[in-house]
């Protein structure tokens, strides 16, 4: 009898846990395309072939205005997965490889699995800048402006920015490593291509421990496929960590909310909670930055 009750209680608890881990409700389409990563990629690519964007004075597609990502919530996990503590199940954002898993080398997969249990080491939780491509994988929006020869992203999250020159200039010397990396852009037809090097390798891609090294090379591609949606694709290469390049994609949507006003998100200023999960309390430890 006792055992039955206990079993029943456990079943209820398990059901409650399952309910709690239901995926966050997602819109089923974006720009008329399904949001599942592979189907979205095929659909957005097809639409972009015939879509004619409005243009800036210098003839490039006009991306100006407020945008936000239509991804899986706030990018708990770029891989598809069943979810875990504090990480709801996600459909994933990866399109290559087809299994939607990052093609880690064995040592790197082991490291990722270890980091996955240490969410408090997520650099973004320490107000560190998010780098590429994670900066676009945010719940918060951003403004794009296009001064002549540049595309500039002014992000709400962390109140930081990307300045992308579109003159295809040389990258900085390898000795300079930065949280934001060195973005160099160029236009390929109506696609903005942004080549990222000089990243410091301290970023995660998401909240699930998917990590980088300072050898990372990211190529982001932005193609408008309706007046209010951009197909965002990022290809990641790092022969020291992955067995092959891999690619993720999701939709960026124009923020047309009436009366929207971009407020200031100052992350570090007034921060009061970090001490709860770093080593100056003895209740946790955070070594991510110092190990490297």
């Amino acid at each position: 009898m006792i055992r039955t009750s206990l079993f029943a209680a456990l079943t209820v608890a398990a059901t409650a846990a399952l309910v709690a881990q239901e995926p966050i409700p997602q819109p089923r389409t974006s720009g008329g395309c399904p949001v599942e990563s592979r189907a979205f990629h095929d659909c957005a690519t097809a639409k972009a072939r015939t879509f004619k964007p409005t243009r800036t004075r210098d003839g490039h597609p006009d991306f100006q205005g407020y945008w936000r990502s239509r991804n899986n919530g706030i990018a708990y996990d770029v891989e598809s997965g069943p979810g875990s503590f504090a990480v709801p199940p996600t459909l994933g954002e990866i399109i290559e490889p087809a299994d939607k898993k990052i093609p880690y080398q064995p040592w790197a997969l082991a490291r990722r699995n270890e980091l996955r249990t240490k969410g408090f080491e997520d650099p973004q939780g320490h107000c560190a800048p998010s780098g590429a491509p994670r900066k676009n994988n945010t719940l918060f929006g951003w403004r794009i402006i296009q001064p002549r020869g540049y595309v500039v992203f002014l992000y709400e999250s962390m109140h930081d920015y990307r300045i992308i020159p579109t003159d295809g200039r040389q990258h900085l010397p390898k000795s300079i490593k930065m949280w934001h990396g060195d973005p160099v852009g160029r236009w390929e037809g109506d696609t903005l291509v942004v080549d990222y090097t000089n990243l410091n390798g301290k970023h995660w891609f998401d909240m699930s421990g998917n990590f980088q090294s300072e050898n990372i090379h990211v190529v982001e591609r932005y193609t408008m496929f309706t007046p209010d949606t951009i197909h965002f694709v990022a290809t990641i290469e790092d022969a020291t960590m992955y067995t092959r390049p891999w690619t993720l994609n999701f939709s960026l949507e124009r923020n047309k909310e009436p009366g929207y006003y971009q407020l200031e998100y100052a992350c570090h200023e007034g921060e009061r909670d970090l001490q709860h999960f770093t080593d100056d309390t003895g209740r946790g430890e955070s070594k991510t930055f110092r190990e490297k």
Partner: protein, 256 residues
């Protein structure tokens, strides 16, 4: 004696004539005819340490001061506010918000010892600072103020007054300082900045501060911003993360 006065008067007149005769600088322009202020700029002064004239001290370079109004170069504090400034001065090594890597606010962001990049379209100006990678977005088109807006970097609106870019910023919090010397303001601060390109390599920058809670009258600073000809991009200074990496994390006070 008469001869000497006459000589001085003549020299003075000649100087005036020379100034009048110099052709006015014609700035490069955007397609809509407004001046092009774009480039990477930085001050070459010690305003970040102290807006008022000051001798050198430990970790602080000397400077002639940048307060041009009142003419005596002193910030016109109310007496009770001057006492707060003196307290700030005494604790500046730890109390200066920049010691905690906080956003520098306006106008201090404009005269930090870090470069900033100005980028423009015909309807907006962006000022992007290397220090903590922060931005100011200044619309030149009408945009209603957001009621109750309070922030580190303020809520700016811009317009052209001839060839001068005028930026009016309100919506400040009371947490930022004007400099390392503890010069401060309240959340009633209004800053009016004027940027005019007066030579190919110079923007003459001016800012007038109004804050009736702290000052007895408006006051103004003026300084040149110089164009960097040796940089094609600004880099980054992620101050608070560097502190954590150095094993000296900056922590807020947690309520007991």
């Amino acid at each position: 004696m008469m001869a000497l006065s006459a000589l001085i008067a003549a020299a003075f007149a000649a100087t005036l004539t020379a100034q009048q005769a110099a052709p006015a600088y014609r700035p490069p322009r955007l397609p809509n005819g407004h001046p092009d202020l774009q480039g990477i700029w930085q001050v070459r002064n010690t305003a970040n340490w102290n807006l008022q004239a000051h001798g050198g001290s430990y970790k602080t370079p000397a400077g002639l001061g940048v307060v041009v109004d009142p003419p005596e170069g002193l910030i016109p504090y109310r007496p009770e506010a001057l006492a707060i400034k003196e307290k700030n001065w005494a604790s500046r090594e730890t109390a200066d918000p920049l010691e905690k890597c906080y956003l520098a606010g306006v106008p201090r962001t404009m005269y930090l010892p870090y470069p900033l990049q100005i980028l423009q379209t015909e309807t907006e100006v962006a000022i992007l600072s290397e220090y903590v990678h922060t931005w100011r977005w200044i619309p030149l088109t009408p945009l209603a103020r957001y009621p109750g807006y309070e922030s580190w970097m303020g809520d700016p609106r811009g317009r052209w007054d001839g060839d001068t870019l005028v930026i009016e910023t309100v919506g400040h919090n009371d947490q930022t300082w004007f400099d390392h010397a503890g010069n401060f303001h309240s959340d009633a601060l209004k800053v009016t900045e004027r940027l005019r390109r007066t030579a190919a390599d110079v923007i003459t920058y001016e800012a007038t501060m109004e804050d009736a809670k702290v000052f007895t009258r408006p006051w103004t600073i003026r300084m040149p911003l110089y164009l960097h000809r040796d940089m094609d991009r600004i880099l980054e200074n992620e101050c608070y993360i560097y502190a954590e990496e150095a094993g000296k994390p900056i922590r807020g006070e947690h309520p007991k």
